[in-house]
């Protein structure tokens, strides 16, 4: 099993969600985060006090998939989240040691 973590631009969320549904991914977790890579921040000004804001709002989606689904999932996310401009985000793939469905106690691939 793999945990796929994707950091994307917030306004791309609907597109990514739709793309994941289309390939049969049933569930995901969403967190609102802040971050930056190569994308520049912006400046805010409040009564003469200038604030440089490096951290930009992003959205983190986490999806747990079977090993065999990994490539299709990455492709779906990449295509739907891409705008071509700096700040599109990143995808991280980590090994998932265990998955448990709380309601039933199922583990492993059945719990995905």
């Amino acid at each position: 099993m793999k945990l796929i973590t994707a950091i994307i631009k917030p306004f791309k969320l609907d597109d990514v969600r739709a793309a994941l549904s289309e390939i049969g991914i049933q569930g995901m977790t969403l967190t609102e985060v802040k971050g930056f890579g190569r994308q520049k921040g912006h400046t805010e000004l409040y009564r003469g006090a200038e604030y440089v804001v490096d951290f930009l709002p992003k959205v983190r989606i986490e999806v747990a998939v079977d090993d065999s689904e990994t490539d299709r999932t990455i492709q779906a996310i990449t295509e739907s989240a891409r705008t071509g401009k700096i700040g599109d985000g990143k995808i991280f793939v980590t090994d998932l040691a265990e998955t448990v469905r709380i309601r039933t106690g199922e583990t492993g691939a059945e719990a995905l």
Binding site: L45, G48, A49
Partner: protein, 430 residues
């Protein structure tokens, strides 16, 4: 012939009784009283929630409630202290420096007592709302780091030792009333007074931890703009109500208030647009407040065009004092009490001397002054006296309280935020 004379006298008598503006001394005018009852409510509205929201939106979210708490508590405390001795010390006859205690505990302020054409109860309560908002303004200077307990003691002492005497000097028959100073609604008594006390406070307390390197952006500019709008509307009670009557002067006071404020709001907005490249909502709201402050002393003496100049001057100059100059000097006047209220008040007070001139559309100079130079000179005396007295007494008071009770919260409390540290509450449970 005799019959015609009697009929004439009778007719005159009826006319005098029917026309409120022809009221004899101490005869209640329903029009004046109705207006003053309304104006009183409008000025209270300026503090709660106008000023409260204006300030609360500008601090960090962990301190949003502390500001609301301070303003609300000041409202309660000043109301009572005004009744106990504040009103008497300001408006009872006494001497040139302070009123007596003849009206302490509102002795003599009965249901029937009159103050001109309005009941004295209304006059007293109207003035109470001024005694509430003036100390509340100072909150902006020590926001985010002042102990609540010490603040209460400071405010009580400040009302007694600073506000009431200065109020007496200008409006209560004290020594400044002999100079023909024009301060219609409190440029000196309220704004310069609070602004300078605020400066003393931020100097004695010192800057917030992390200032100016750490970012401390306003947590809710929506509140701030709403608060500013409430202040604008309420200010009609502040300025037009200072006529204590529903008449032509009040009408002009309302008109000039609106125009000066509009000019100031746009003035600040355009200055910021030029200086930074984009106009901001905090800027336009701050500009409006600067205009309101500056037109306060002028509202009974200047004409519409003069008011626009005054507003423009305040909007442009206060932009500089609240932004660039503050940063250059390094003091942490968190919410620009000095930059807007003191400076705006000074600009307004001095320009009142200019635009009161009949030739410039004004209503004429104060008693004893014959020229713009003379009037500005008189205005200067009022401004200087207020600045010196307020600064010295406020400074000493703060130093004493610091030694006895401590003014500032400790570092941990300041870091955690006053809402949790002092009040066990959170402003936003989202």
């Amino acid at each position: 012939m005799k019959i015609i004379k009697s009929i004439c006298f009778a007719a005159l008598g009826l006319a005098a009784a029917a026309a409120p503006s022809l009221a004899l001394a101490d005869e209640l005018s329903a029009g004046d009283t109705a207006w003053m009852l309304t104006a009183t409510a409008l000025v209270l509205f300026m503090t709660i929630p106008g000023l409260s929201l204006f300030y609360a939106g500008m601090v960090r979210s962990k301190n949003v409630l502390s500001v609301l708490m301070q303003c609300f508590a000041i409202t309660g405390l000043m109301s009572l202290l005004w009744a106990f001795w504040g009103y008497s010390m300001a408006f009872d006859e006494g001497n040139a420096l302070v009123g007596g205690f003849g009206k302490a505990f509102l002795s003599g302020v009965t249901v029937e007592a009159m103050s001109g054409t309005i009941p004295e109860t209304v006059f007293m309560t109207f003035q109470m709302t001024f005694a509430i908002i003036t100390p509340a303004l100072i909150v902006g200077a020590f926001a985010e780091r002042m102990k609540f307990s010490t603040m209460l003691v400071f405010m009580g002492a400040w009302l007694t030792l600073v506000y009431a005497p200065i109020c007496h000097w200008v409006w209560g028959g004290g020594w400044l009333s002999d100079w023909g100073i024009l301060d219609f609604a409190g440029g000196t008594v309220v704004h310069i007074n609070a602004g300078i006390a605020g400066l003393a406070a931020c100097l004695v307390l010192g800057p917030r931890k992390g200032y100016p390197e750490r970012q401390m952006p306003p947590n809710n500019l929506g509140y701030t703009v709403i608060g500013a709008a409430m202040l604008w509307v309420g200010w009609f009670g502040f300025n037009a109500g200072s006529e204590l009557a529903a008449d032509n002067v009040a009408g002009m006071a309302m008109a000039v208030t609106q125009l000066a404020t509009a000019a100031a709001a746009l003035g600040w907005m355009f200055m910021e647009w030029l200086s930074h490249g984009k106009p901001s909502v905090l800027g336009i709201a701050s500009g409006a407040i600067a205009g309101l402050v500056a037109v306060t002393p002028a509202s009974g003496s200047v004409g519409p065009m003069g008011a626009i100049v005054i507003g423009l001057a305040a909007g442009v100059l206060c932009f500089f004092t609240a932004t660039k100059i503050k940063r250059a000097f390094g003091y942490d006047d968190s919410l620009d009490v000095f930059g807007i209220h003191a400076i705006g008040g000074i600009i307004g007070a001095l320009l009142t001397g200019v635009f009161a001139a009949k030739g410039l559309g004004g209503a004429g100079f104060g008693e004893g002054n014959e020229s713009i130079a003379g009037q500005v000179g008189a205005q200067f005396v009022g401004v200087a006296a207020t600045i010196v007295y307020t600064f010295v007494v406020s400074f000493v008071l703060l130093k004493v309280l610091d030694a006895v009770m401590g003014l500032r919260v400790n570092e941990e409390q300041e870091e955690e935020g006053l809402d949790i540290a002092l009040h066990d509450e959170r402003g936003y449970i989202l």
